[in-house]
């Protein structure tokens, strides 16, 4: 069954909101920030802008929330506001996906153990280090009394979240589901990225290089969507397909095929197959940075393009000879397909179609 994408919210290195997202996509590639690590090395990153999480409108409700929970609350609240729907609290569900979850607060808790000892640690830090703390905040701030789930895994967490959201809608358990993903770039995680992956010398991710050892620039952020059984006043797209399987070309070539190559997969040569599917191609990781759970941000870009019937130029095209979207221009777009690969060879697909 079709689900309708009725609203979206985003807080990422592009800033907060869809206007900021549009500007960033129009701008294309921009240089990453450079952060100095404690061991003296540098790391290029795409972090949230410093004021992205400033918001006093929630008052005390999020006073203790950590950065990850704040991102999720702001993006989810924006999605709900964007939809202009007042759901029955018992008929709306929530699924939060993350690759690394509340790692930063987990390390903060380990710090508590080292500094104060096991018997004198902060209960607030502990309770925020549990993986579903962000979801708990979103649920209590937005009064979500239906099913609430958190899925934490490096690969395809958001795709599984979408599958679950669709099942809740299809089964009639929910009228709406807020579904999204969030990942932050804490201090220890930066050290891990720097140690495990190499950064591109010129600060550009190259999604169309299909490299065996791609470069990566870590990003962070959150995007949420209100998925519903029926279209609302601000419906921007229909979610036609979510599939997790081996790569199989879509039955009808989409108006645009977004490849989610972003440097987080050890070997990106597998993206050559979906690239050869014949559809026009784009890849927006150079705008957001590398994120194993980056699909929500890419989906936000896709939804924006469908809503505004515009194709944003792919930011780092390279000279692959592939049929790329090279110029930002108004474009009739009936559908957009997104493909992300797993290191085991499977692929996850989402297809959105335009909703008039």
């Amino acid at each position: 069954m079709t689900a309708f994408l009725n609203g979206m919210g985003i807080v990422a290195s592009t800033g907060r909101g869809t206007a900021a997202l549009r500007s960033a996509l129009q701008q294309g590639w921009r240089p990453p920030n450079t952060i100095a690590l404690p061991d003296g090395r540098d790391l290029p990153v795409y972090p949230l802008p410093p004021d992205a999480l400033d918001d006093k409108s929630f008052g005390r409700k999020i006073r203790r929330a950590d950065r990850l929970a704040r991102m999720a609350v702001l993006a989810a609240a924006d999605a709900l506001r964007d939809a202009r729907i007042q759901p029955d609290p018992r008929r709306i569900g929530l699924v939060v996906a993350s690759a690394f979850g509340s790692h930063a607060t987990t390390f903060e808790f380990l710090d508590e153990i080292l500094t104060y000892g096991d018997a004198e640690v902060s209960p607030t830090v502990f309770s925020h280090s549990v993986q579903n703390a962000a979801a708990a905040y979103v649920a209590s701030v937005l009064d979500i009394q239906g099913p609430v789930m958190t899925l934490t895994q490096v690969h395809f967490a958001f795709h599984h979240a979408l599958v679950l959201a669709r099942q809740w809608l299809d089964s009639g358990q929910c009228d709406h589901v807020l579904v999204g993903g969030a990942d932050e770039l804490g201090g220890v995680m930066r050290f891990i990225w720097r140690s495990l992956l190499r950064a591109p010398a010129d600060g550009r991710l190259r999604p169309f290089a299909f490299a065996k050892e791609p470069a990566a620039i870590p990003g962070e952020g959150s995007a949420f969507f209100l998925l519903s059984a029926k279209p609302g006043p601000c419906a921007c797209a229909r979610v036609e397909l979510i599939r997790i399987a081996s790569w199989v070309p879509p039955a009808t070539p989409p108006g645009l095929h977004i490849l989610e190559a972003d440097g987080t997969l050890g070997d990106e040569s597998g993206y050559a197959a979906p690239a050869a599917s014949g559809a026009r191609l784009a890849a927006y990781a150079p705008v957001f940075g590398s994120m194993p759970c980056g699909t929500p941000l890419q989906l936000a870009a896709a939804a924006l393009m469908l809503q505004e019937q515009v194709c944003f130029a792919t930011p780092v095209p390279g000279d692959s000879g592939l049929p790329l979207c090279l110029a930002t221009a108004p474009q009739p777009l009936a559908s957009i397909h997104l493909t992300r690969l797993h290191c085991n060879g499977s692929a996850a697909h989402i297809q959105l179609t335009h909703h008039n």
Binding site: K56, G59, R60, R63, R64, T115, Y116, E120, V121, S122, P123, T124, S127
Partner: protein, 109 residues
């Protein structure tokens, strides 16, 4: 100056002030200043409106800042009723009722 330079009566307002600062900073009470917290204002429920998670966090705060360990049996008492009752408990039981100096506690965060 050391806390032993003060009498209990002189200590109490200093302890109350320090306690208010610590509650505002450690519990992220962004909407209130220490000066706005009443001495006899209820800490939980109506009043300062703190919750159960703040309650257990205050227990840890008292351990770290003032070296007092609240026993399980004391938790239900009037001890946590207001800033005043907490301050009195600290003056009566703490080896350093003025708390860890502000500069040192900023370094912790």
């Amino acid at each position: 100056m050391n806390h032993t330079d003060f009498s209990s009566e002189e200590l109490l307002p200093k302890v109350r002030a320090r306690l208010k600062e610590l509650l505002v900073s450690h519990l992220a009470l962004e909407d209130i200043t220490p000066e706005e917290i009443g001495d006899d204002e209820a800490i939980f429920g109506e009043g300062l409106g703190l919750d159960s998670l703040d309650g257990v966090e205050i227990v840890v705060l008292l351990q770290r800042q003032f070296g007092v360990n609240i026993k399980e049996t004391e938790k239900g008492n009037d001890l946590f009723r207001s800033i005043n009752t907490l301050a009195k408990y600290i003056v009566e039981n703490s080896p350093n009722p003025l708390g860890v100096p502000a500069a040192a506690s900023e370094d912790e965060k």
